[in-house]
Symmetry: D2
Subunit: 427 residues, 4 copies
Amino acid sequence: MAIDQLAVARLSEQFSAIRSLSEKLASKLQHEDTIIQAMPDVSPPKWHLAHTTWFFERFILKEKNPSYVPFNPNFDYLFNSYYETIGSYHPRHSRGVLSRPSMEEVYAYRNYVNEGIVSLLKDYGDQLPEGVEDLIEIGLQHEQQHQELLLTDVKYNFSCNPMLPSYTEPSTTSNHTTTDHQSQVNEIKFEGGLVEIGFEGAGFSFDNERPRHKVWLNAYQISSHPVTNGEYLSFIEAGGYEQPEHWLSDGWATVKKENWKHPLYWRKAEDGWYTFTLTGEKKLNLDEPVCHVSFYEADAYARWSGKRLPTEAEWEHAMSSIPIEGNFVEEESYHPIAGESYTKSPIKKAFGDVWEWTSSPYTSYPESKPLEGALGEYNAKFMCNQMVLRGGSCVTSKLHIRPTYRNFFQADKRWQFSGIRLAGDLT
Amino acid sequence: MAIDQLAVARLSEQFSAIRSLSEKLASKLQHEDTIIQAMPDVSPPKWHLAHTTWFFERFILKEKNPSYVPFNPNFDYLFNSYYETIGSYHPRHSRGVLSRPSMEEVYAYRNYVNEGIVSLLKDYGDQLPEGVEDLIEIGLQHEQQHQELLLTDVKYNFSCNPMLPSYTEPSTTSNHTTTDHQSQVNEIKFEGGLVEIGFEGAGFSFDNERPRHKVWLNAYQISSHPVTNGEYLSFIEAGGYEQPEHWLSDGWATVKKENWKHPLYWRKAEDGWYTFTLTGEKKLNLDEPVCHVSFYEADAYARWSGKRLPTEAEWEHAMSSIPIEGNFVEEESYHPIAGESYTKSPIKKAFGDVWEWTSSPYTSYPESKPLEGALGEYNAKFMCNQMVLRGGSCVTSKLHIRPTYRNFFQADKRWQFSGIRLAGDLT
Amino acid sequence: MAIDQLAVARLSEQFSAIRSLSEKLASKLQHEDTIIQAMPDVSPPKWHLAHTTWFFERFILKEKNPSYVPFNPNFDYLFNSYYETIGSYHPRHSRGVLSRPSMEEVYAYRNYVNEGIVSLLKDYGDQLPEGVEDLIEIGLQHEQQHQELLLTDVKYNFSCNPMLPSYTEPSTTSNHTTTDHQSQVNEIKFEGGLVEIGFEGAGFSFDNERPRHKVWLNAYQISSHPVTNGEYLSFIEAGGYEQPEHWLSDGWATVKKENWKHPLYWRKAEDGWYTFTLTGEKKLNLDEPVCHVSFYEADAYARWSGKRLPTEAEWEHAMSSIPIEGNFVEEESYHPIAGESYTKSPIKKAFGDVWEWTSSPYTSYPESKPLEGALGEYNAKFMCNQMVLRGGSCVTSKLHIRPTYRNFFQADKRWQFSGIRLAGDLT
Amino acid sequence: MAIDQLAVARLSEQFSAIRSLSEKLASKLQHEDTIIQAMPDVSPPKWHLAHTTWFFERFILKEKNPSYVPFNPNFDYLFNSYYETIGSYHPRHSRGVLSRPSMEEVYAYRNYVNEGIVSLLKDYGDQLPEGVEDLIEIGLQHEQQHQELLLTDVKYNFSCNPMLPSYTEPSTTSNHTTTDHQSQVNEIKFEGGLVEIGFEGAGFSFDNERPRHKVWLNAYQISSHPVTNGEYLSFIEAGGYEQPEHWLSDGWATVKKENWKHPLYWRKAEDGWYTFTLTGEKKLNLDEPVCHVSFYEADAYARWSGKRLPTEAEWEHAMSSIPIEGNFVEEESYHPIAGESYTKSPIKKAFGDVWEWTSSPYTSYPESKPLEGALGEYNAKFMCNQMVLRGGSCVTSKLHIRPTYRNFFQADKRWQFSGIRLAGDLT
């Protein structure tokens, strides 16, 4: 398939830019930090760096370059995450035992594969084999997802160390001070009706966002702002974590089993509440969006407040024309902020800051077609027992998010940068 | 609220009929059978008999009859199933340790409460207090659900005994011989469009079936018959349980962890397949609907066969005008049958035989309102991590099922009489 | 082997007496009580009744009577407890799912096997085949062990029912009122030296009590009485359960994991301490021997009190000439008592009331020979990770205990009638 | 207490020598290797380096030097292993999450504390405060134990990496080639009688080796050599792992649960057996002592071979006058060897190569007195549910072992360098 030279150059440039961001993010860690896995859900940073590299090696270089020599044949076993159809793989919960390959070797691996991809682009020029452009694109989107996971996982790992290390110093260059107070919360109303959601048109999208399709929406409202720490604290202080009537049955069982009393990373001290961040533990800012809550907590908070969570269709319909601006990983704040100067839309913080739980279980769209081959496992096989989140967070790349983007996690997960936006019926 | 005398008499009669069916079902058990709980999901038969009685006592007699004297104050703790808002309760997984109250006492309890309800109806006559009629109605629907569970649980309990006891003798009076061969499977086509689902109108429905609401459906097809044992056996023989590509990720993990190789209760002997039933173990009849499969298996079978499961909206739309006829508990076959003479509809066995897994997670309908008070816990708090099943089974009462009826279980559960009907896209 | 007619008659009589005691003990239960297994360590009463019967069937009737027709061939699988060398068996933790065979069938089984044994004795007369007398003897000792376990297990099962049922009414015929105060505790001194322990001579003993062998003992002292509830309460009130310094490492881990704060079956109410017994819950009698403590608690109590537990050699040496008198199952108190009028020995309550934990791990005696064949599994294969207890309890038969008798349980077990007697060094 | 100057100089020199060996052992690891903990029983190498340092800081510098400034106050929590009486500590199973302090900081910590100890010795000279000499001695013995654990744990950690990294290159300087065949196995006979075991006299010993005390031994024999891989292979090939009759009940349960079929680190390939070592995977040498077997396997092997394990008293009595020579960590083979040229005693390999399981549970000696204060927790609180091993291994320091030395582990542990020597009765 011919693509123009300019497109190839742009792809090559984009490849280098996104790949080097991973290394920049990892450069703030000590070698010992790159190997820990404090719970099965997180992966060691080194594993993220190697797995994303393996993705390019396995799905592009091995498939499209007949003369390609693998860097290390063991890596197919070690760095395959979950692609059952291409072979067995190292168990997820045991990634933390892999002290070897060392970071040095992983960087050599990255360089080797980077050169392989760049050469491929150069050698073929505008005669790129069928599918290569799409595969590089998906590999880069995949790399961006793991950049977010790397930061998310480092935060969790560090939180388990009683010395509470910082990943980095607080940013001093952010345009948005964290002391900005937010403006008044409003309920924004939508008529609903027979609308369309899902991705259509140019640019990248994942298979799980397609096809665009019709959905009926009753009239609804959605809040102008995500729920803040201060608002969530009222729920805590009203006894929210002791009252089963607000909770789903599975949620209440989790509250009791895990002894939850507040969001992940919060700590109550004599002089008030603290929260752990990637720049160390700090006083809880009541104006920041609440973060690191599970779906169960989001749902209980919504019920307690007399509202509900939006469906993913409502969320997408409401946000579809809002520009992608906000507090993303490029800001280097690595934390949701109180300020809200990004957009003139009446709906604030639709993108960035915190992923917003919806009330929608993660299922396939009508007539959807997963990618063919092993990449069909990328998204589709997780469509059970997970809930959809929307909008990206402060550790998502601005270049990665879309109104139609569907993130998904189990209802009890809290280590993601996940928050709450409320919705309601209009009848 | 005044209701006419005839309605009261009818309610009283219905009350006696449904309540005594429970005792009839239990009468085939020995006392020792009534106390076992072979896994946390099942309850001892005695517990079902007592819990349904407690339901009438707690929600009607205690609430509506100021002079009511409870049979035994401990029973509020022992026989509350999961109503958090009315007090603590005996842990579900420990119901099997409750040898006391004995069956004799439980029957005395049933009589005591039955007399209480019948007196209430007689005393008030057509001046029944607000809500009593609805509460009796829900109590009877609840009793019917537990009649089905009692049989389902006895089957599981007995299957764990190496001697494989029979609950009862095979029925000889059934109109439908189990050797009938089924007619040709057809795919029935529907145009879809903006349709309505959910309950509306007269008669009983649960809060989770309401309100009736609009849903957009793309054109679709649905199979004329549920999948048979013979069809499912082809999936097994083709290696379905060894090939991860057919399975959801959670499903594949379950297959490996539980070492699943076939539906629950199947056993491969030298002379072929057997299945355990409430009338003992018998040769697998290839023409019967496959039963005791999990959602994971239903979904994997559908993907393997190039089709998919229907959504619950598709299912309800397709079945909405089919008469409620079929192989129900009243037939006393206690097993799905091969025969299909019930209905002239092109869609066969829509009701009875096996519950049919849909692809729809169990969530609330738009603008739905759970019941107020503790009974709001009846359905709504389970709307997470469960999948919807439709149509009733051979152990469901014919009087209990509706096209809009929503049953729900976790995706890995197999001890229910659950089967598969396929659907597909038309584009 | 010829044995005299009188001996055969005596054996037959003894057989009937011991076998019918099991049924007498079970007769106080309702059928529903006979099937429950509230934790893996306990067995349902019905299982005890069947297993002891199977022991006679399997090891005597099947082996020694060529024309014997088994009652039910499934019972070899169902009622083998742990004899690996004679075949597979139903998993121990699942005995509670066996509602069938019913109690009625189990009684028929008992009668059938009883008749088999009695006929065997009658038919052979004084020409009993080699080993039969010994096998009947061991079968009766085994039956007595399960009589004790039946009572011990019923107590545990009933304690898990919030209604706290009673096994029987408090005995009114006991010679020993439970209000007797005990006499002054003394420390009885022994010189030690090169002594002998272990069984030798006429009468029954288990293989684990043999051979009699030399042991060196330093001079030591042993307490005249077991530790009382009152003494143990001082340990609790002094913070014993909160202070790691008294505890073995595994013990302290268990205290924290299980949240132990007092012996099993104790409950602190507003008006003081209560304890659950086979005759219902009653006020804690401070003068009774403390019961239902684990080895960990016995050991921690001893360390806290500045003493230690005796070794099993010290215990046996001290008790070797004390008559077998005391509070046994024949007294029908089913609970340790405060009174102590049984013996003139300066050491009180050496036998009966409570099993006494020793500091000795359960290991084989020098040059010991386990029984040949499957019965070699009876005792020897448990000689790891268990501690020795001595002296019998209030639910042991007086006819079953000896100074050389070795009971054994894991260090964390508390459901046995286990207590504490202290010892100390003399240097 | 005055000690002579020479003794202080010798202590100081010994301190430096032993402390620097730890660093030499760790120097062969990459930073990423120092933080992994592949199972709860092992500790990360970095943790060993820090914990042994903390031992000197906490028990000597903080106690004996009033002006001592702790290196980092958090380290009391992070690097306390299990001393309950001096404060809470980081959970053992989570040591692998402590990426910080980094190796660099840990080395700084070691230097800081080393200087503190050396200064203390210099400053006080021959006026060392009471107990300091003993505390330094115990600290050094403790360091040596952790040197062995570091190597043992690295082996386990590396074995979990599918790439099977080597800790070091095979030694080429060893005096003892691994191809030496062993001489004929003999059974060495001992008369027994009233003997004494336990430590007495000059030099260091742990509290658990004291006091020396009398024990009666029947006449016995003990094998001249530990069991070899070849001998153990016969047990495997004879079906040892499939036959319950050889095994203790807990052992058989472990075999089935863990699916054991051979010692830890063995692997059967098409061309024969391999074993993983600290110098990589290599062909199994049939003449080497079998290693990495549990007590259960040692005991089952002994029973299968018609012999038994020695008691610890028999072992000590037999080995008491054999010189401490053999294959120790100083040889840098890091693996048991086939050669046996060390000693002229008829008993070979009594010390070094492999720890030898005894049949003795780990309990306290008569009239033993644990150390006072927190160090009383060092050994005594583990005297339950563990078995004694004797003789040291190829990763033990030659300077660390004694005939009276008691090592101890749970019966199912296999990651230690543990082997088998047989014994038997003579009657």
